[in-house]
């Protein structure tokens, strides 16, 4: 099986840009990715674009062709929507098409404009990734949904708000040197524990911020990269996706994420690696508890043991298995439709040594990206490896 290469990637500064349109954000990231790739734009076969709340935030549907135009491409362009996993879904679709010979070059990515509508409307827009009839109408918000999962986790396996606080502290510290990050501010466990509650047991610092931003990457077939002498040392060697019931109430338990289990198993098998081979991970920590659920589903920790990984320092940049060197969604920010490709960019840059936290993983060869939609009703996992 040939493994597509990451030829270039571009990420905007994540943060509050209420005056910037989605098309402007994506143009910045997409053009950066194209410029970095060394690929002739005439060789691009397609754009796969992720976005979740464009209709609500910008009154803009049909964003695929709009975004192709924004980066100067006249190619088939399709929007992917899988809530917060929208961009991960673009990577998966591109990998399949590049492998099966449908295409040689595909631009993947996504953008989200969120802060222009304010916190209340953004909370409302995010909530519709849940089941409208049975969850949203019962007052569910996204912090609320993850709070339900956090309480279930504590009940099933133990752990505390203090353990969650250590995850936030770690990810804030990781983001200090990431100029793409929305929040470059160190916090303490006490700060996190004393922050206002959003949905008990989760507080402000357990939650990712509301973010504007975009990310893009140019993926090519292995043959195209070799034929054109591209500087593209990192390959996507495994892809996986899993699904689950949309509503939490219809699942067997709320303290595990089986969609991510399935995606991880598939991606590892596809790449021919195991969890033990993973040197570094970017996981979907929209809330601190989500990082715990992610590293357990990825098989990096046994069920019930992920909760103390940050407390024990194992997932920090000084630990054996750095998680979220970018700062994660928690500190880097979470422009929903862009997140999966921002994760891919981070891992590619860590593995090729160009990320400011790359020194945390000396000689790292295998990285994994975990991108979850909703309360993990959809998840993509991608394995990236140094190919050259």
């Amino acid at each position: 099986m040939s493994n597509p290469r990451v030829a270039g990637a571009g990420v905007t500064k994540f943060g509050k840009h209420p005056e910037r349109t989605g098309r402007d954000l994506f143009a910045e990231a997409g053009l950066e990715a194209l410029d970095q790739s060394g690929v002739d734009p005439d060789d691009v076969d397609a754009l796969f674009y992720g976005n979740f709340m464009g209709e609500l935030a910008e009154h803009q549907g049909h964003q695929g062709p709009l975004m192709a135009e924004a980066i100067g491409l006249d190619v088939p362009a399709t929007r992917f929507e899988a809530a917060c996993a929208s961009a991960g879904a673009t990577v998966r679709a591109a990998v399949k098409d590049l492998r099966n010979g449908e295409a040689d070059v595909i631009v993947v990515g996504g953008a989200e404009r969120m802060t222009n509508i304010g916190t209340a409307a953004a909370t409302d827009a995010l909530a519709i990734a849940a089941d409208d009839l049975y969850e949203v109408r019962a007052g569910m918000t996204f912090p609320g949904a993850y709070a339900l999962m956090a309480r279930s986790y504590f009940e099933a396996y133990g752990g505390s708000r203090e353990d969650l606080a250590h995850i936030a502290v770690k990810n804030h510290e990781h983001a200090l040197v990431n100029d793409h990050a929305q929040i470059q501010k160190e916090i303490t466990v006490e700060d996190a524990l004393e922050a206002p509650t959003i949905a008990s047991p989760l507080g402000l610092y357990d939650s990712c911020p509301i973010t504007d931003g975009a990310a893009a990457a140019v993926l090519t077939s292995e043959a195209y990269a070799e034929d054109h002498g591209l500087d593209a040392p990192v390959a996507v060697s495994g892809t996986g996706q899993g699904g689950d019931n949309l509503a939490l109430q219809d699942r067997d338990h709320f303290a595990q994420t089986p969609a991510a289990d399935k995606a991880a198993r598939e991606a590892y098998a596809d790449a021919g690696v195991s969890a033990a081979d993973v040197d570094v991970a970017e996981v979907h920590d929209c809330f601190t508890i989500a990082e715990v659920l992610a590293i357990e589903s990825l098989g990096l920790y046994e069920r019930g043991e992920g909760i103390t990984a940050a407390t024990d320092g194992e997932t920090s940049r000084h630990g054996d298995l750095p998680v979220n060197l970018s700062g994660g969604l928690k500190a880097k920010g979470h422009p929903v439709g862009a997140t999966g490709v921002a994760q891919l960019a981070t891992i590619a840059w860590v593995l090729d040594g160009s990320h400011p936290r790359a020194d945390a993983v000396e000689d790292g060869r295998v990285g994994v990206c975990h991108n979850a939609g909703g309360t993990v009703a959809s998840t993509t996992v991608h394995v990236l490896e140094v190919a050259e």
């Binding site: 949203v136 999962m149 219809d250």
Partner: protein
């Protein structure tokens, strides 16, 4: 804004709670779901029948929400919980108890209440 249309089987289900005859849908293999459903996602049976919902259930997880959506602005803070009724679990708002006293295992009954903010119907649990 787009005016909301009635939600058929869901509204009928809320009606059934108000009529003191709440039901759930059960497939021939005993898997329970809430309407609308045409197929059991577990076993793909299409033979779904309306069965009476148990009278009470137990809170399996809960949260007190202080940052709500605009549709719940005047309701906050409120408790959203998932309650296990046996064949099905249902998400709703817990009322009639101090939020601090809601716990996993609290036994509640099911009724239809109103959102403070909008007056729309909402699934409400009260301690039994």
């Amino acid at each position: 804004m787009i005016d909301a249309a009635p939600d058929g089987a869901y509204d009928a289900w809320l009606d059934s709670i108000e009529d003191d005859a709440p039901y759930y849908l059960e497939c021939e293999n005993g898997h329970g779901w809430l309407p609308p459903r045409r197929i059991c996602p577990e076993c793909r049976s299409r033979d779904l029948t309306e069965e009476p919902l148990p009278d009470s259930g137990e809170v399996t997880t809960h949260t007190t929400i202080t940052v709500p959506t605009p549709q719940f602005e005047d309701d906050a803070p409120y408790v959203t919980a998932v309650v296990d009724f046996g064949p099905v679990s249902i998400t709703g708002i817990v009322r009639g108890i101090d939020p601090e006293d809601v716990a996993i295992g609290t036994v509640v009954g099911l009724e239809v209440g109103e959102r403070v903010t909008t007056g729309d119907r909402a699934v409400v649990f009260r301690p039994r």
